[in-house]
C-alpha cells in the first residue's frame, strides 16, 4: 500500500470561517498598526510644531497609541503565522505575491505617515486639508508611477488565475458601488438632503467593497 504524505493543505488548513477570520485579522491588525503610527507621528509633529514642552498628557497619548500599534501589529503577525503555517510552504508564485503585498503595505504606511506629518492634526491624513507641494508631488508620484509598476508585476508574475478571478469579482462589485453610490449621493446633495459628494470617501468605500469581496472570493 502506498504511503501517503501527511500534511496537505486540505488536511491542515483551518476551516473556511477561521481562514476568512484570520485574513480579516491580518487586514485589521495592519490597518491598526499604520493608524497607531500615524497618530504618534501626528501628535509629535503637532506638539513640537507648537514649540511646547513635553507634558504627561502627551506622553500618555503617545504611549497609548504605541501600545495600540504594537498590539495591532502583533495580532496581524500571529494571524499571518497561523494562516501560513496551516497552509505549509508557499509556492514561488505565492512568495512573489507576498512580496508585492508587503511592498504595497509599506508604501501605504509611508503615504499615511507623510500625510499625517503634513497635516495640522493626527486625523488630517484622511481629510481634504491642503498639502504643501513638497509633500503632494512625491506622494502623487508614488501613486501614479510606483503603484502601476507594482500592479503590473503583481498581475503578470504573482497572482494566479484563481486570485485574478477573485479580484475581478471584487472589482465588479467596486465599480457597481461607484455606478450606483456616486450618483445617488450627488442627487441627494442636489436635493439638499446630503453633504457635498466627497471624492476620497467614495474612493475608500470602493476600495473597501472591492477588497472585502476579493478576500471573500479568494479564501471562502
Amino acid at each position: 500500500m502506498m504511503a501517503m504524505k501527511a500534511p496537505t493543505m486540505d488536511d491542515q488548513a483551518p476551516a473556511m470561517g477561521s481562514r476568512i477570520g484570520r485574513v480579516a485579522l491580518i487586514a485589521a491588525g495592519s490597518l491598526g498598526a499604520v493608524f497607531g503610527i500615524g497618530v504618534i507621528t501626528g501628535l509629535l509633529s503637532a506638539h513640537f510644531g507648537r514649540g511646547e514642552s513635553v507634558e504627561f498628557r502627551l506622553v500618555a497619548l503617545v504611549a497609548g497609541a504605541a501600545l495600540f500599534a504594537i498590539g495591532s501589529a502583533w495580532i496581524a503577525y500571529r494571524a499571518t503565522r497561523a494562516l501560513t503555517r496551516a497552509a505549509g510552504a508557499p509556492t514561488a508564485r505565492e512568495r512573489r505575491n507576498r512580496i508585492v503585498l508587503i511592498a504595497c503595505g509599506a508604501l501605504g504606511g509611508i503615504i499615511a505617515m507623510l500625510l499625517t506629518l503634513a497635516g495640522p492634526s493626527p486625523l488630517s491624513a484622511l481629510s481634504n486639508d491642503p498639502l504643501p507641494p513638497a509633500i503632494a508631488v512625491p506622494l502623487a508620484l508614488i501613486v501614479a508611477v510606483l503603484m502601476p509598476v507594482l500592479c503590473l508585476y503583481w498581475h503578470r508574475r504573482a497572482v494566479d488565475e484563481q486570485e485574478e478571478a477573485a479580484y475581478k469579482l471584487g472589482a465588479l462589485f467596486g465599480i457597481y458601488t461607484y455606478f450606483i453610490g456616486a450618483p445617488t449621493w450627488w442627487l441627494l446633495w442636489r436635493g439638499g438632503l446630503a453633504p457635498a459628494p466627497d471624492g476620497i470617501v467614495i474612493y475608500f468605500t470602493i476600495i473597501t467593497v472591492t477588497g472585502a469581496i476579493w478576500l471573500w472570493a479568494k479564501y471562502r
Binding site: K5, M9, D10, A87, N97, E161
Partner: protein, 70 residues
Amino acid sequence: MKNRLKVLRAERNWSQAELAERLDVSRQAVNAIETGKYDPSLPLAFRAARLFGLAIEDIFDDGHEGTDNG
C-alpha cells in the same frame, strides 16, 4: 464542476503545494479547484491533463454524459 484532482494527487503522493508548484498556481487555487469552489480555465485544465497524462474529461466532469452535437 466535479473533478478527480485530489484523488490523482493522492495517488502520486503529492501535497497541494507540490501540485500547485507543478501547475504554477497557488495552494489556494489547488484547494479551491479540489473543493469545487473554482473552475479552472481551459489552459490550466490542459496543464493539469498533461501533468497527469490524462484527457481533460478524465479529470474534470461537468455532469453531462456523451456528446452534444445538436
